[in-house]
Amino acid sequence: MADNPNPNIEEFAATPAEAPAKKKGVKRRIFLAGSALLVGGGVFGLYWSDNSARSRAKSLTTGEGEHNFLSWMKIAEDDTVTLFSPHIDFGQGTHTALGQMLADELDADWSKLKVVQAPSDIAFANTALVQSFLGEMSGYPGVIGALPAAIVGMLSRSMNIQITGGSSAVRFTGQGGMRVIGAAVRLALIEEAANRLDVSASELTTADSKVTHAASGRSLRYGELAAGAAGRSLSSAPTLKSRKDYKLIGKPVVRLDIPSKVDGSAVYGIDFTLPDMRVATIAAAPVRGGKLQSVDEAPAMAVPGVEKVVKLDDAVVVVAKGYWQALKGLNALAPTFTNGGHSAMSTPAIYTAQDKLREAGKPDNTAGEGDVDAGFKAAGAKRVSADFRVPFLHHAMMEPFALTAHFKDGKLEMWGGLQDPISTRARAAKAAGLDMGDVIFNPMIMGGGFGRRFPDVVEIIDQVALVAKQVPYPVKLVWSREEEVRHGTYRPQSSARLEATLDAEGRITAWRNDYVQRDNAEGEVGFIYAIPATSRRHFAYTSNQIDGPWRSVNSTQHGFYNESFIDELAHAAGEDPYRFRRKHLPDGSRHQKVLDEVAQRSGWGTPLPEATGRGIAIVESFGTIVAEVIEATVNADGSPKVLKAWAVVDCGTTVNPLNAEAQIAGGIIMGLSATIGEAITLDKGAVTQSNFGDYPVLKLADAPPVIDVHFIESDAAMGGIGEPGVPPASAALANALFAATGKRIRTLPLLTQAKA
């Protein structure tokens, strides 16, 4: 990191002012209609179909001496500006970034800005996010291609959600929302000041939460102006700052949440407690799809502190005074479960079934350009083929699932950390047989998520809702780590055959990717190379597991497939892997610049010690291009040793370079961890692994000591930052090990290869 002092922060190229916002018939007053939402302006958020939703939002958030603007922010008379974030911050720095974007346009004093979680109320549903994502609705068809189908699927089920995912908060909510709100409110404050000072608005300037009339030396604080400004009409299309005028966007701002995370005072979902609360823990059917057959409750009830055993359809729950008693009670039980008819489901069987499905040659979806078959048959073409396999991956968020619920007087109140508070309410209501209006959810900070906390795939919501209905006190249900590992919603186990042909000049003429997994990943294959004929064919295979979004979703495996295979093609063509990639990228493209920069920074091509190799990979995901170089060698026991890592990133504009660097570096480490040692395997339908002992997550000693992360600022639409660091890492490492050893790795994780 020392090598990367957040370059380019002060070197923004002058850019044209942001494109004017699209009005779509909305006049001066912002109704926050979810119309045009993307980069360059537009209108954010909710369509206020009636005033009651708006006054509801206000009543939920705004007290005496405070003035609400557009529901999403308020100004207090002491100048404090509070932003309500529909997104949850689980360490990705979203709250700080959204605050920077609002405060920059508002010219607010950063030291008086607070970002808090928006209430989990439909008045704060993130319709903006949905509409930004769903291209056909917003009129931006290009957007949908940048999104994982898995996330679009979840989004499309309901407009009334508050999702955090898809590396979306900053690029959609921030760009299309918070900046516009900040700019519009600033104009209203100026209008109010002009009226009070009896001067023209054009004579006024704003800075540090004050409006100043330089000619007369008078100024008014935002806190003094807020009441009047709140009654004014707001522009629906304020001009946004151009890059050269940014004061906070693009600056390395320290994160707001960090002090509470170094002194133990941050309260996560698992830390929550209520008077008279009991703690419960659970054992679900070992085979996903299995049901609880029978259980004798007596041994658990005999454990001191145990108060109740609750039988669910597919699980048994023990409720006790505390976690330890509950766990002892659970361990005393010998429940029997059915296997759901999945006894033949094992990891080798899944690969065999996937191979058969692919060989049958009946894809469920096809995409691509040109005639690949003709390319394959062309005279003189050199044909290369390789088969790749990747395992299920567990999220391994450090905070195991924990959710507190209290059912009282027909209402269910819950506390915990999940990626979409409103969907959490909907799911709990359904499970408990309640109206959504009778379910309250209080979102809390999360100890990691990485895609595991989307309510769509979170069974603990149903479990705790059902348990709470059976007990007269509040109950916190905590999953053990074993439960967490064995009942994940994993990155899919997937396989692919890649085939390509090279012409006499070493150019790729045709490329096919036949991949097998449950979901169609079109839109996430991130294919960036200019090749005359390409084909992507999806073969749908469903196991008994739930495939969930895992940090960077399908880009992890497709990054590995594509970037391993193009490396193989480079060697088949007898060319340097960096130069071979480069010649297949459009000249002058962002991709080429990113690739060149990482090659230059990593000293690509310079001599290395014996048995040490460099690998390169470049993947575009979530609108961000990331190229990585890994330098690696092999330990005496055959395990890989990562020595150094470089990343070059083009995400358009970096809102907070200090945080963005951490996100990319962390993404690389997560990618390396998965590549080296992580795998969830199935035996007779049940997960074999149980805890960190057999699901090895990379530790400090095995991570590269320093990761050089460099950002290229471009004028491209803003890309995500939480996920795109992950996908290139696996191929970059596998390619480095090939360079070091001559052994090509096509099945992950590497450790099983080393032992094989």
Binding site: V254, K261, Y268, G322, M398, V697
Partner: protein, 160 residues
């Protein structure tokens, strides 16, 4: 059965089953929730505390074993006047935490390492810092430890 020991300088007595792990006594009986539950098998280090100055994974130590001993948790690292420990300050300066969940344990491990070695080398950091961080904050953990011990090699990222 009451078991007595001290936590962060204060004597406490808890009525817990003797086999209850220290972790759950800290979190549920003493409301010190800065110490985290991560795995329950002493594999991840999220529950790290100091017992008589020794780095200890509290999920795997029965409370009966700490009777009469002095336990320090993340909440007890601050000075009497409320100032943060040098390692905590270094953690903020290096902007280490992401989700933050493992960081109490990481800080407790780092403090123990520094108390034991003075100025730890990179190899000593590799050997001692075995706590898991899923967010991948390891490079900043390393740089914060180096910065806290005044190492010239400290690679603290820029600050606003």
């Amino acid at each position: 059965m009451a078991i007595g020991f001290s936590v962060n300088g204060k004597d406490v007595s808890v009525a817990a089953e003797p086999d209850t792990p220290l972790l759950w006594v800290l979190r549920e009986d003493l409301a010190l929730t800065g110490t985290k539950f991560g795995c329950g098998i002493a594999a991840c280090g999220a529950c790290s505390v100091h017992v008589d100055g020794e780095l200890t994974r509290s999920c795997s130590v029965p409370v009966s074993e700490v009777a009469g001993k002095a336990v320090t948790t993340i909440e007890g690292l601050k000075g009497a006047d409320g100032t943060l420990h040098a390692v905590q300050r270094a953690w903020i300066a290096a902007q280490v935490p992401q989700c933050g969940y493992c960081q109490s344990g990481q800080i407790m491990a780092a403090v123990a390492l520094i108390e034991r070695t003075g100025t730890p080398s990179n190899a000593q950091i590799d050997e001692a810092m075995t706590n898991i961080c899923r967010c991948g904050t390891y490079p900043r953990i390393r740089s914060a430890i180096l910065a806290a011990t005044g190492s010239a090699a400290a690679a603290v990222t820029g600050e606003a």
